[in-house]
Subunit: 243 residues, 2 copies
DNA sequence: TCCCTGCTGCGCACACTGTACGCACAGTGG
DNA sequence: CCACTGTGCGTACAGTGTGCGCAGCAGGGA
């Protein structure tokens, strides 16, 4: 969808490339890809569409990026930089870990494709920002006095990733419906209750949830905080001097 | 890829449909889809390929399944039936929860696409087996005496899903490399150590891991069990009578 | 002034994807 | 015998990622 219209091929008629365009570059491509991902979701990102948004052809992108997967990897690493992990010197490791976890969740909800891609990649991503993130987490738990900080990280991160990814998927579904979260829940409720028929505990839980006056976002916040506290409680028991 | 070859159209030459073929049915389609998913991964499943394996055209499947997403939902629910959750009557809730978690992980590693799809779907899936699974978990934690069993579930499940999905992704990557896990790690190590340069804690962790004599599968088992214990410890603190 | 080399963008093409549409046939009920 | 319904399939459409080779530009010698 370049600005230049189709015209008969002629050396004289050919225009110069606009020099004021933001040049195609890896950074610009990644930035635009993130914008598309945030706005339209992961399956809406195609190389053609991305190229069009950059006033370029689809295959031009491949001069700067080896493959679409590599582009995703770059986008992940770029976005991971938004997560803040308090410095290790902080006296209260628990507050620091809580802040890091909440920052992760906030980032994952701001970029709903993040956790899905991250969870599906595992240790294969070695981008600088991801490494820096891991390093700061390791520093935090080491300073806290954990004998094996990586075990602590390998407990906390799966929880945070698991929760964030289901939550992001849910919010994506809601957003696609065009309704508010409460309205979407209300519309889904009958089907859920029907599916829960014969399952007493589930039916009870649904009934209790229906009476809940709190708004869904608050409930999700509380749920995440609750589970996080559980995990941190469990970790605290592993600190030397507590056993 | 039907058995009948192309031939000049003629009423006389047209063959009958083989009646001994296993009839195309929703159950057969789902079963075959799971086989493809297990063998070749999630992005290898295409309707055409699936149809071919069933001696049918691609679009024939759509008589039994509304859309590919629906097929995935059916496959997930089918596979979820493999997860065993001990009955609520079990005296030791902790052993029961541990068994359920391990069963989940085993199923997720047997079907490496499971957690990714599950984590990306959230509460939207309401299949009977998934409902039964949730019900039994709820029964378990209710019988254990938790005041709000759903909070316990919403803590445990994200951990289990998060851990299983990264693990499954890792194993998929390893499998695709054609090497053993140990060999793959050895080949990845230089890149990882280079990426960890300047990050002291990470570099230490890598160095320690390189000296580790245990085989990777054992380490993964231990890591999962460790985090699971952490979560269950944290949950145990929420049992009335412990506060 | 010329050519040569290397880099960037792009048009085309290939092999694929999910799935809508409408026809041809089998079995069933009237 | 006819009508109807359910099933399979061939064709087609609008996409997808990406390999290949060409066209222009920048800079560096001769």
């Amino acid at each position: 969808m370049a600005a230049k219209a189709k015209q008969i091929p002629s050396v004289w008629a050919r225009e110069q490339r606009e020099p004021d365009q933001p040049a195609l570059s890896r950074a610009a491509i990644v930035r635009e890809a993130i914008a598309v991902l945030d706005a339209d979701g992961i399956e809406a990102l195609s190389m053609r569409k991305l190229g069009a948004r950059l006033n370029a052809g689809a295959t031009s992108l491949y001069r700067h990026v080896a493959t679409k997967d590599e582009l995703m990897e770059l986008a992940v690493d770029e976005v991971v930089a938004e997560i803040t992990v308090p410095p290790a010197a902080a006296a209260d490791w628990r507050a620091a870990a809580t802040e890091a976890a909440h920052s992760f969740r906030a980032t994952a909800l701001r970029h709903p494709w993040l956790s899905a891609v991250l969870g599906q990649a595992g240790l294969a991503y070695l981008g600088p920002n991801l490494m820096a993130f891991s390093e700061r987490l390791a520093a935090l738990f080491t300073a806290a006095g954990f004998p094996e900080p990586s075990s602590a990280i390998d407990t906390l991160l799966p929880y945070v990733i698991g929760m964030s990814s289901t939550e992001a998927a849910w919010l994506t579904t809601v957003a696609r419906s065009g309704e508010t979260e409460a309205a979407f829940i209300a519309r889904l409720m009958p089907a859920a209750q029907q599916a829960a028929a014969g399952h007493d505990h589930l039916a009870d839980a649904y009934a209790r949830a229906a009476d809940e006056p709190l708004d869904p976002a608050t409930i999700r916040d509380a749920k995440f905080a609750y589970g996080l506290d559980v995990v941190l409680d469990g970790l605290a028991l592993r600190l030397p001097g507590k056993a």
